[in-house]
């Protein structure tokens, strides 16, 4: 009897025990099969100091993700400044399997390596999403004699010393934008006397103050200044006219120059991030761009929607690499 009851007892315990074990396991199985999820806060890196374009993108999107409850974990913005991004890229490339690491990106990830200042370029990372874009805009003073972009280019041809200010370093975005435009108009890409200022704002002030003849910068940055009436825009590098305050600005294409230039921004991940994690983040950003909080923030910051999923973004980046190496090569700045 005693023996039996003990057995019985055991059996009686066994069932609930099994149930309990199963209960613990099943959600685990279900989770692993359906979707990967971050298990700790995501390091969300802006490869620059606070205040710039990458930093704003990282902080804004992290904020939207939290506000809209898109992830079970926090996205914590981290600034890793240095070398126009090179310091952060090297760090991320070293940590190539980390599923809890993302970073903001834009054309410098192609340009900086081409200039020979970084060992890593976009091919050393996994594209997650392209999110937004801005365009390049060419400005002159309101009283300038140049009425169209072609007149400006003709003047540059006649006088190669004509100074064109820009907000980024030589060989970086603003420079490439105007050199590419000049090349498309039949000038040598190296024929623009590009004066590098430390920021689009400074370059615009130099224009208003009559220190340079023209300035090339981001259209978003210029729109508030244009409203002041002291500057005129000659061309914008978008495929079609922009809306809002820049609706009057003609594109390069309208003026017979077949040229567009995107200042895109997006998100990338380490190269060997597990596939499930990549899929998770791609899905997250695809959902994020549909939320009202994102749309509001995007409009407030003057950003234009330019979403691409990871795969399309990767192909786009390869095309950009070709375009940029050609322009930099023509300019004699290609070092890699």
């Amino acid at each position: 009897m005693k023996k039996n009851s003990r057995l019985l007892l055991k059996k009686r315990y066994l069932a609930p025990l099994l149930c309990a074990v199963a209960a613990l396991l099943i959600p685990g199985f279900a989770l692993a099969q359906s979707q990967w999820q971050p298990t700790r806060p995501v390091e969300y890196i802006a490869p620059a100091n606070p205040g710039g374009g990458w930093d704003t993108l990282v902080r804004t999107t992290a904020n939207v993700i939290r506000a809209e409850n898109l992830s079970n974990q926090n996205f914590s913005p981290i600034n890793v400044p240095g070398g126009g991004g090179a310091v952060a890229w090297a760090q991320i490339a070293r940590d190539n399997r980390n599923p809890h690491k993302l970073f903001a990106t834009s054309p410098p990830i192609i340009l900086v390596p081409l200039m020979g200042n970084s060992r890593f370029n976009h091919q050393d990372f996994t594209p997650i999403a392209r999110l937004i874009t801005d365009y390049s805009i060419v400005l002159v003073r309101a009283d300038s004699p140049y009425q169209t972009i072609n007149e400006l280019f003709a003047a540059i041809k006649a006088n190669p010393g004509l100074s064109v200010g820009g907000g980024s370093a030589t060989g970086s975005m603003d420079h490439i934008a105007i050199a590419g435009g000049a090349a498309a108009a039949g000038l040598p890409a190296s024929g623009v006397n590009y004066i590098a200022f430390s920021g689009g704002g400074e370059a615009m002030i130099a224009l208003i103050g009559n220190h340079v003849e023209a300035t090339v910068t981001g259209a978003g940055e210029a729109s508030a200044q244009l409203a002041g009436g002291r500057m005129r825009a000659l061309a914008v590098s978008s495929p079609e006219r922009l809306s809002g305050p820049l609706a009057d600005v003609p594109t390069y294409k309208e003026q017979g120059i077949d040229y567009t230039f995107d200042i895109w921004r997006g998100v990338m991940a380490p190269k060997d991030m597990p596939k499930e994690a990549v899929a998770y983040y791609e899905d997250l950003f695809a959902r994020m761009i549909e939320t009202p909080t994102w749309k509001q923030a995007r409009d407030q910051l003057g950003w234009l929607d330019a979403y691409q999923d990871g795969e399309t973004f990767g192909k786009f980046l390869d095309e950009q690499l070709d375009q940029f190496s050609t322009v930099l090569g023509d300019m004699g700045l290609l070092r890699n």
Binding site: P50, N63, I205, Q300
Partner: protein
């Protein structure tokens, strides 16, 4: 009268109970952040951007501006007590503030810094209120040639800052200049002095050098020299200024405030450059200029008035032109954009509430800062009462935490240590640190502006003389450089 109406309007916004609360929180947080060496207002402001997202733009900017000028106000405390500048803008304050503290005048130095900061801040608010729109014209009139000339003028102070040996001062200045151009060159994309090290691609952060050269070198020096055990004495000293002293500093504070304010208005300059220009101007104008660097009260008053005035002045390009002049104002610009306000030429018409509200809030903020800081001075100064081994380790820890917290880079800690050792060697062999720091601050901008100006002019050097502002600045630079010679000759002639 129009500005009076505007100011009344501004005060209506700033005196809203919620906004008074924001000013208070802002300046309080700013003071604390400023006091911790290395940790500047930039990281604190970046953390606030998500908060600003939901705030009314006027309140948001009132809060964030408070952090900014609060940090510059508070930064003097650690400059004076520990020789460890809290923020870049208060490096010059340590030149005379720290010697004063060593003499047992810590209380007076801190009080002096507080009064000078208050007056500098208030003068800049007046300037903002009365002539901000006009000032944007001043900012615009400065192109590359003008910046170059201004930096040359600033650099002539090397002569007056190298006390004993001019040669050693020049060597220090050239070394500072070399450090300042490290990294990727903006105009060509070439790497300079980076030794193939990616951490050096952006050059070296100014505050790392300043902390190493001043705070760490001082710690090493004290360790090396062992201690004349400081006998117990009144460490705090009196906070009161005599009537004679008030008279003495009145003009330097006023002059430095005005100079600082105009420096702040230039988008390329800012609080740090402003404080150095103020310091060197007063050193040259003062009759007892040779005692600067040994604890002269004017040497504390001038840079403190100038940096706070410059901080206010930097709101001119930010708000009326939409152009940030420094890392900190760049974040303020970003925050404003997030809040849906686009600073620029239309700001005064579109968002007068933000513009005048912030200016009015600065009056209140400056009063808060004074009231908050003065009663606390005896407590801060008691920090020096801490036994020396403990104090030295505290300085070390503060500096390292501050530098690490800036960018989470271990590399920067080694740099800090390296500059500490360089600073020690410089002290042992009689090389002055001030010219090096000055060249480090002005060098990069001078070099950049010069090349920019020449690139625009097609290599024509006359551009620096043809532009009137640049020409006058260069003439003043020339005069101030040869002033000692003129004085010498004059005295000789009179002596006969």
């Amino acid at each position: 009268m129009e500005s009076l109406t505007n100011l009344v309007y501004g005060f209506q916004i700033a005196l809203d109970p919620m906004n008074i609360f924001y000013v208070f929180i802002g300046v309080f947080a700013g003071t604390v952040i400023g006091m911790l060496p290395g940790l500047g207002p930039i990281s604190a402001l970046a953390l606030m951007i998500p908060m600003a997202f939901t705030m009314d733009p006027a309140s948001g900017l009132i809060l964030m501006a408070g952090v900014y000028y609060g940090a510059i106000f508070g930064g003097s405390t650690s400059s004076i007590l520990l020789n460890a500048p809290g923020v870049a803008g208060t490096v010059a304050t340590s030149f005379d503030g720290y010697p004063m503290a060593k003499k047992g005048l810590a209380g007076k130095a801190l009080a002096l810094a507080a009064y000078a900061s208050f007056i500098g801040g208030t003068i800049s608010v007046l300037g903002l209120m009365l002539i901000a729109p006009l000032l944007s014209q001043v900012a615009i009139s400065f192109g590359p040639a003008e910046y170059f000339a201004l930096m040359v003028l600033g650099l002539t102070a090397v002569v007056s800052l190298s006390d004993k040996s001019l040669i050693k001062g020049m060597i220090a200045a050239i070394f500072g200049m070399m450090v300042s151009i490290m990294g990727i060159d903006l105009q060509t994309g070439t790497e300079r002095y980076t030794f193939n090290h990616i951490e050096l691609l952006d050059g070296i952060d100014f505050i790392v050098v300043a902390l190493g050269l001043f705070a760490l070198a001082e710690v090493f020096y004290m360790l090396l020299r062992g201690g004349s055990k400081t006998q117990k004495r009144n460490i705090v000293g009196s906070l009161k200024l005599s009537r004679q002293e008030v008279k003495e500093i009145a003009m330097p504070i006023t002059r430095s405030s005005i100079l600082g304010f105009f420096t702040g208005v230039l988008p390329g300059a800012g609080a740090t450059i402003g404080s150095f220009l103020g310091y060197s101007m007063e050193k040259r104008l003062a009759r007892d200029g040779d005692t600067f660097g040994q604890g002269n009260i004017k040497g504390v008053a001038a840079p403190e008035a100038a940096n706070n005035a410059a901080c206010g002045g930097s709101f001119v390009p930010l708000l009326t032109l939409g152009v940030p002049g420094s890392g900190t104002t760049a974040i303020l610009l970003g925050a404003l954009l997030v809040m849906g306000v686009t600073p620029g030429p239309m700001m005064l018409e579109q968002r007068p509430d933000v513009f005048w509200g912030v200016i009015a809030s600065m009056y209140i903020g400056n009063i808060f800062l004074l009231v908050l800081n003065l009663p606390l001075i005896p407590y801060f100064a008691r920090l020096l009462d801490v036994p020396r081994p403990l104090l030295l380790s505290m300085i070390l820890i503060f500096c390292m935490v501050g530098v690490y917290g800036m960018s989470f880079s271990v590399f920067n800690l080694f740099l800090l240590l390296g500059f500490g050792l360089i600073g020690l060697a410089m002290r042992l062999y009689g090389f002055p640190a001030a010219p090096m720091i000055l060249a480090l601050i002005l060098g990069a901008l001078m070099e950049e502006s010069m090349r920019r100006a020449l690139q625009i002019s097609g290599g024509d050097w006359w551009v620096f003389i043809q532009k009137p502002i640049s020409m006058w600045l260069l003439i003043i630079a020339f005069l101030s450089l040869f002033m000692p010679l003129f004085k010498f000759v004059y005295r000789r002639i009179r002596g006969f």
